[in-house]
């Protein structure tokens, strides 16, 4: 779609932000039947202030007016909301496409048949191990079987191209080929994303994030599989490991520029990996609607200003990774203008070894009896960095 005249590169256009997000993540509920150890949103219990059906519909109306193309619905487990299907139908009827992430709990044969009949709904099943052993250690007992049942139901109903969403960890990085096979078996597409130290992920990141050697292994695998595997542009922090452009995707943090997060009570955050008061732009109910927050919040305006390369300014890879993921740095207690904790040049390791203050979570809906990872556990996380740019690369 390139056309003649010298226009600013798209990445520069995006860096300054768009009048409306391309897509956004919408966590519909903090309620969840599982309690994954790495949950980005520290989900478990429903928040009593959760938006009502009508309030959700009003937001959809606003997204339609702004021409937000689609929403990535998550949670929590979004399908446990009794009005979930009503909201999905309402969104697609109002030209807001829906992709939703689920652990599969409500994907019965009947639901799968209904989903197969819609062109506007995309389904993403979360799975963090290619075997029950690896998966269930992170996501909880029975969660592997539940996800596979959902995939079977979708396939049997003729639902085309479901997504299997995997967060790469130290314990499943050797299973990438197995995940691909699993996806092929169900006519699905594999989507792998980066483990982020957000939410409960902060508690398990040290033990679960891939080692430097595994990062290289992961990078090589991604390059070999190219566009056939989705990443949510999650791994741009690794792009310095090879030639520019070898890794498919956009090297840009989209937080507050082209994406954002709406949480179950209507709070708007810069990105799905940054549910913390420092990244809170406003509340849809009390700050005069989503559009006002998107276009006028002080936080989002700041994020659209040129960012300082800081300590990374002299690094030859800065153009590739732009200092990595804002949320990954923040939640590991690293300075925002320094290297990513998983910097491919190895600058993250010494930074992590130094004295650092990890921020306290400002939002937590975990059940008090939540599972705790004890000892070395195979785990995974589900997400992408604040540099993440929706689910596909637009360039």
């Amino acid at each position: 779609m390139t056309v003649t005249a010298p226009v600013p590169r798209l990445v520069d256009q995006f860096e300054r932000g768009l009048d409306a997000p391309i897509c956004l993540t919408w966590e519909l509920t903090y309620a969840c039947n599982l309690s994954c150890v790495h949950c980005l949103s520290s989900s478990g219990k429903r928040d009593p202030r959760e938006l009502s059906t009508q309030q959700c519909k009003d937001i959809i109306d606003e997204l339609e007016r702004m021409q937000v193309f689609y929403v990535n619905i998550g949670g929590g487990e979004p399908t446990v909301r009794s009005d979930f299907w009503e909201l999905v139908d309402y969104a697609t009827e109002h030209h807001v496409g829906v992709k939703f992430s689920t652990n599969g709990v409500r994907i019965t044969p009947e639901v799968a048949a209904k989903l197969a009949a819609s062109d506007y709904v995309d389904v993403q099943i979360s799975l963090d191990g290619a075997t029950a052993e690896v998966n269930d250690a992170v996501r909880g007992p029975g969660s592997f079987a539940m996800a596979v049942r959902a995939l079977e139901n979708l396939r049997d109903a003729g639902f085309g191209d479901a997504k299997i969403s995997v967060v790469v960890t130290r314990h499943n990085v050797d299973q990438l080929d197995d995940f691909k096979e699993l996806a092929d078996r169900y006519g699905a597409t594999l989507r792998i994303t980066r483990l982020r130290p957000s939410g409960r992920g902060a508690d398990v990141w040290d033990e679960l994030h891939p080692t430097p050697a595994q990062q290289v292994q992961l990078y090589d695998w991604l390059v070999a599989h190219g566009e056939g595997v989705l990443t949510g542009d999650s791994f741009f922090h690794l792009s310095g490991l090879g030639e520019p452009g070898a890794l498919a995707g956009l090297n840009l943090c989209g937080a507050g520029r082209v994406v954002c997060l709406i949480d179950p009570v209507g709070d708007v955050y810069a990105c799905p990996f940054a549910i913390h008061e420092n990244f809170l732009a406003g509340n849809i109910l009390s700050d005069n609607g989503f559009q006002n927050i998107w276009q006028n919040s002080e936080l989002f305006r700041d994020l659209r200003e040129p960012q300082s390369a800081g300590a990374c300014g002299s690094c030859g890879h800065y153009d590739s990774c732009r200092g990595g993921c804002m949320a990954a740095k923040f939640f590991t207690g690293l300075p925002m203008d320094g290297p990513d904790p998983e910097c491919v040049e190895g600058y993250g390791e010494p930074a992590l070894a130094r004295e650092r203050d990890k921020p306290k979570p400002s939002v937590d809906h975990s059940r008090s009896a939540g599972r705790k990872a004890s000892g070395p556990v195979p785990l995974t996380l589900l997400s992408a960095p604040p540099k993440k740019f929706c689910n596909e690369s637009p360039v």
Partner: protein, 98 residues
């Protein structure tokens, strides 16, 4: 949904139009395109190409749509290329194929 466009060939002598599942969002630089069927995002990187795309359906062939948008025949090369890319990704469909 089979749009029936023949593999990789973009015939500018035919009438083309936006795929019915494609949404166009105006932007300062041009426009964003989103295809709800393929779930792909694309860009129109200036306002002239946006105008061309919007005029396609009103004209019996692509060249006359370009002319109507003020793009002379000898300047059409990059526009035809861009439209060809859009056709390949099913953002555009040839009229007979719908």
């Amino acid at each position: 949904m089979n749009t029936g466009t023949s593999q990789g060939s973009f015939d500018p002598d035919r009438r083309w139009r936006l795929h019915p599942q494609v949404a166009v969002r105006p932007e300062p630089f041009g426009a964003l395109l989103y295809h709800f069927g393929t779930r792909k995002l694309s860009f129109l990187k200036n306002r002239t190409i946006v105008e061309v795309v919007n005029l396609l359906a009103d004209h019996p062939d692509v060249r006359s749509a370009c002319r109507a948008a003020g793009v002379d025949d000898d300047a059409q090369g990059p526009y035809l290329h861009a439209l060809g890319v859009l056709a390949q990704s099913k953002m555009l469909v040839a009229e007979e194929d719908q």
